[in-house]
């Protein structure tokens, strides 16, 4: 046990470092991440931040119907009635700006148009769903577009589908 002064000093130094770490850790975590542990081993505020992300799509046809009532009414009886408007058009927020979706939904009529709603005329949009493929469920309405056009005696063009079909009332 003699001649061990240097060892005790080294040990003390080590203990000081460990103590500093322990104190530092608690301080830093409670200052930097005050919500840590609120719901589990993570920062509770992160949950709130995720919830606060920007909502861009609306909730479906009913909301669009606030201003486009007639179109939606007609649409609801047609073949495309199960499809949300935004699927073929664009997210609601590009057309009517809102900051809080719940406030907006409470009174959509109070909001103004802030941008043009995207409207696609090109047949790519139609083909995505309706071009015939073995992988598509057999009962789903699909055609081999080239054959269909030939059958109908129609020349192919960029927005040829619209020559005969109205997307809001597509059945012939």
């Amino acid at each position: 046990m003699e001649h061990t002064k240097h060892l005790w000093r080294a040990v003390l130094l080590l203990l000081a470092v460990i103590l500093l770490y322990v104190l530092g850790r608690v301080l830093v975590v409670s200052v930097l991440y005050p919500s840590y542990g609120e719901f589990g081993p993570y920062r509770g505020d992160s949950l709130r931040e995720e919830m606060a992300r920007e909502v861009r799509h609306g909730t479906g046809k009913n909301v669009c119907g606030t201003c486009h009532g007639e179109m939606v009414e007609d649409f609801l009886a047609r073949a495309h009635m199960d499809i949300n408007c935004e699927t073929c058009h664009a997210p609601l927020v590009t057309h009517v700006r809102f900051d809080d979706i719940q406030e907006f939904l409470a009174d959509p009529g109070n909001y103004e148009r802030t941008g043009e709603m995207e409207i696609q005329h090109a047949k790519d949009l139609c083909i995505r769903c309706h071009e015939s493929q073995p992988a598509k469920p057999p009962r789903f309405p699909q055609v081999v577009i080239v054959d269909h056009l030939q059958e109908m005696g129609v020349e192919n063009s960029a927005d040829v589908c619209l020559d005969c079909h109205d997307p809001h009332d597509p059945e012939m």
């Binding site: 060892l7 000093r9 850790r25 975590v29 930097l32 840590y36």
Partner: protein
């Protein structure tokens, strides 16, 4: 467009772990391996390794100081890495890093300090100026180098070297577990992973010490201790045999079971990874050194010093490549297997000057050697008697 074989999930086209994650286990492997060499002397009393005992300790420290650099380079937000010691969740293997690293660092620093304490205090008295201040701080204000103090130091050193072994092995082994615990990847998910990594690390450590020892002795004009080389080679041979047996066993088990994992793993090993797995890791990196070391160990008596030195240097060099290719095959090869288990991504080729590219890796790997050069200026790692030096200078016969 990315070349793929079979079907690769859309998100799998992007590789996440780069060359940096290949060199990180390589470096910690060298840390653990060099420490084990040092502990062969300090704990197991293998006297033939005395010439390299102090040096391998410092080598371990030199690599340890650089070990975090590839990780920090790779991280998207390196400063947030501090969270590993703020709120670690120990169900994750990676969470162990903070404590395993600092734990081993403390043990190593303490052991280095005790081993070199006599020299520190001698220099503290002999030098002047800022050098003296430096040694004085390191002495912690105690200048006792009596025989009793040194005896106590030796006893504590033995203890530290003993607990240092599992500590160093954990620091490297946890990486093996990090891979081994990923059930999503058939090439990684393997209980043998930590063991393979550890044994492979010792191989790389001994190989590195053989090479560095020979280079430094040559540069300094000292004699290369034959007994030391022979002993290092014997242990290297043993660890090589165990390592490669384990590596092969891992794949043979998969091949025998013929389950889902082997279906995609064998496509990987026989396809894009053929050169680095078969060529580098197995044949050039394992079989050839196995033969060379076999000669050295089994024909010890009939081999001259120069032949032994050359063969061991070559074998050690090949083994360093073997261990690197093993890390490469695990990290990069593993990521080439898509989670769809139906396809392979194209081979990843690291860019030269990318953030995580070849030059960055080379620079990181060079730093430990610079540290060793600097260390030599402050801590004498090779102390040889006047007699030995004269012996070398006098000998004129080549190939003795």
């Amino acid at each position: 467009m990315m070349e793929t074989i079979g079907y690769v999930f859309p998100n799998d086209l992007h590789i996440t772990w780069s060359l940096m994650i290949v060199i990180y286990p390589y470096i910690t492997g060298l840390v653990a391996g060099a420490f084990v060499v040092s502990s062969f002397y300090h704990v197991f009393g293998i006297r033939q390794l005395r010439p390299v005992a102090r040096f391998s300790l410092i080598a371990s420290l030199a690599f340890l100081l650089v070990a975090t650099w590839p990780l920090l380079n790779h991280l998207g937000h390196p400063l947030k890495g501090v969270n590993v010691i703020l709120t670690p969740l120990f169900e994750s293997a990676m969470a162990g890093f903070g404590f395993l690293y600092t734990g081993y660092l403390f043990i190593l620093l303490l052991e280095v300090w005790l081993v070199f304490r006599k020299d520190i205090i001698v220099y503290a008295k002999r030098t002047r100026g800022w050098r003296q201040r430096f040694y004085r701080i390191l002495s912690l204000g105690v200048y006792d180098i009596s025989e009793e103090a040194l005896q106590t130091d030796r006893k504590v050193t033995t203890f530290l070297a003993a607990i240092g072994i599992p500590s160093a092995l954990m620091l490297h082994g946890y990486v093996g577990f990090l891979f081994g615990g990923i059930k999503a990847n058939p090439y990684w998910s393997n209980p043998l992973m930590p063991i393979i990594f550890i044994f492979s690390a010792v191989v790389s450590g001994i190989a590195a010490i053989i090479i560095l020892y020979q280079v430094i002795m040559k540069l300094k004009g000292f004699v290369i201790d034959r007994a030391c080389i022979d002993t290092l080679c014997a242990w290297l041979w043993l660890f090589l045999i165990v390592t490669v047996s384990l590596e092969l066993l891992a794949e043979i088990s998969l091949a025998y079971a013929k389950a889902e994992d082997w279906e995609i793993v064998h496509q990987l090993l026989q396809g894009p990874l053929k050169f680095s797995y078969l060529g580098l890791q197995m044949v050039m990196g394992a079989l050839v050194p196995f033969i060379l070391l076999g000669f050295i160990v089994l024909m010890k008596r009939s081999m001259g010093d120069k032949v032994t030195n050359t063969l061991s240097f070559t074998a050690a060099g090949l083994l360093l490549i073997q261990v690197f290719s093993m890390r490469w095959n695990v990290v990069i090869g593993g990521q080439m297997i898509s989670k769809s288990l139906s396809g392979l991504r194209e081979l990843y080729v690291p860019g030269m000057f990318e953030k995580e590219g070849v030059v960055a890796a080379a620079l990181i790997m060079v730093v430990p050697f610079i540290i060793l050069l600097l260390a030599e200026k402050f801590f004498p790692m090779f102390k040889f008697s006047e007699e030995q030096t004269r012996e070398f200078q006098d000998s004129s016969a080549p190939g003795d």
